[in-house]
Symmetry: C2
Subunit: 332 residues, 2 copies
């Protein structure tokens, strides 16, 4: 059975049957002109979009369709996490190429459905178009956060501590391992990290409720770039310590066999989806005494300074401006 | 100045500066991980997505970029209108090809901005990616409607009247005129209709407040297809009268010079974005006595029957099943 036997409405039917996570917040799901979501009066709505493009963001030669479905939703949920929010629902626009079959679409939906269950985010609509060449996936997520509590990029203040929720580098080593076709078991973590990232919803909510967090962003372009985002939006400077940046162990193994600089590899590693945040010192110490709510990988990597002090990194006791090259679609 | 001189963040800056409609419902707009929207406690949220793909939905050889920006938002607003709602905000994912320049992007944003102002729908975020080949635009709109009042596809009941908000056919004749490169002034209306459709937000809100409307859908695939959608979702049949289907005058002129069947041309004309709705007879008569609130083109075209009576059309006193071929991406 081919795609043209199923037709557009057949595909919508399949889509509906695959997506099994439901929520009582949804008044109307897939199948009308729009979905309807019941209000939550004391909460603000978070609204975010992300597009994944074949050959730019994913490569079907090594990406299982099920992983692609997971990741397409996960990267959006990561944006909701970066605001301190909880997901409410998502909507999917899937542009498929002739390379896709009923089987691959089913696999894609299965991954999407798994992520939808894992983070309690029902899929409430979408459209499917056929594209002449590369496939493309755009997902929009609605989330919500207690009114006035969203964690923006602009709230960092001199004196705050700068932290990350976990070790970095595995997304990039995972991508390189996959691109090389390397099947060594020792890189399983890295592959999984790249193919099926985990949006840090749990960690974000714990931190929001704990209090004292002044800004937050998710690491999608690379740590260096995200630090600059926070400093620019908050009109502050910062100093980070190279030896405090947590590095994933499989990334370390991968880099050590190559001629990469470990630091620049990790600083430029995009699609990590850990959270970078600033927190008042008093709140940080309370966090320590609460054993970081089980976020055992949480790490303080620097502190926020006045803007006039610049954005600097201390490497072996010497300071230098933080200046690594991160991903920009228009500067390749 | 080329795209790579501006870079991704330069583009975001331009994007921000072009989009000038703001609303006090928006707590945080472009530039963070997500936008924040203040709650409206007694209203439900409408959530809708639409993707336009180059060579499938638009052709840049005759589509001005400014019109493309307008249309990309308008088709989404039409979905909000089809639910009886008002727009709250929109988010844009723009995938541009090498054919796009700073100038064409500026023109696109200008059209987007004009539509955003016309229907009071601020653009609160988005992303821009560079694609290897065809461009693609995905927009998601958040709208809202008084809780419990949304106009779904599933509410039509036997005895209701079936109506459209205005004449049809111009979207298709407009597209054919443009494809042929025909510059005759007599087809200006048709070209404009195709390039810059008007979402029927005003009409939809008037009808919702009037009461008695039982179902609604916007005509994006073609009248025939939309009638079937309403009948299928509402588990009803219907009878429409061919001679009551309103036809746009420039479409009539266009068709008369060709060998098309007028009826099938109009029935299959997609992207019209008029509203198709069902209404209780008593409410319809009240609508008449209110001069249709100035919706002078509103037309009753048939009535809803039991499902067992089928979906039929009466042509010159003879009835036949309503069976025209409408647009399906997977059945070309």
């Amino acid at each position: 059975m081919g795609l043209s036997d199923v037709g557009e409405f057949g595909l919508i039917k399949r889509f509906r049957s695959h997506l099994s996570f439901h929520s009582n917040r949804i008044g109307l799901g897939i199948g009308d002109d729009g979905a309807l979501i019941k209000p939550n009066p004391a909460w603000e709505t978070i609204f975010t979009i992300d597009t994944l493009v074949e050959h730019v963001h994913y490569d079907l030669s090594y990406t299982p369709f099920e992983a692609l479905g997971w990741k397409a939703l996960a990267v959006n949920l990561s944006d909701v996490a970066a605001m301190g929010g909880l997901p409410v629902c998502a909507i999917v626009s899937l542009g498929i190429s002739d390379f896709w079959t009923i089987k691959t679409i089913d696999d894609f939906y299965q991954g999407l459905n798994a992520c939808s269950h894992a983070f309690q985010c029902p899929i409430v609509g979408g459209d499917t178009v056929r594209l002449p060449r590369d496939s493309i996936i755009t997902i929009t997520v609605i989330g919500e956060v207690e009114s006035g509590c969203a964690l923006k990029r602009s709230g960092a203040r001199p004196g705050d501590y700068l932290c990350v929720t976990g070790p970095l580098g595995d997304a990039r080593s995972g991508m390189e391992v996959l691109t090389e076709g390397n099947n060594d078991l020792e890189y399983n973590d890295a592959r999984t990290r790249f193919l099926k990232p985990v949006p840090r919803i749990y960690e974000s909510r714990k931190l929001l409720k704990h209090g004292g967090v002044t800004s937050m962003i998710d690491i999608s372009d690379g740590l260096s770039s995200e630090i600059h985002h926070i400093c620019r939006e908050s009109h502050v400077g910062c100093r980070i310590f190279a030896d405090r940046v947590p590095i994933a162990s499989s990334a370390l193994r991968w880099i050590e066999k190559r001629e990469h600089s470990i630091l620049s590899f990790v600083m430029e590693s995009g699609e990590e989806y850990e959270l970078l945040f600033t927190i008042q010192p008093e709140a940080y110490y309370r966090l320590e005494s609460n054993q970081y709510y089980g976020i055992s990988t949480l790490q303080k990597i620097g502190d926020i300074r006045k803007a006039s002090e610049g954005v600097i990194i201390e490497i072996n006791g010497e300071t230098t401006p933080l200046n690594f090259q991160c991903w920009d679609h228009f500067h390749q």
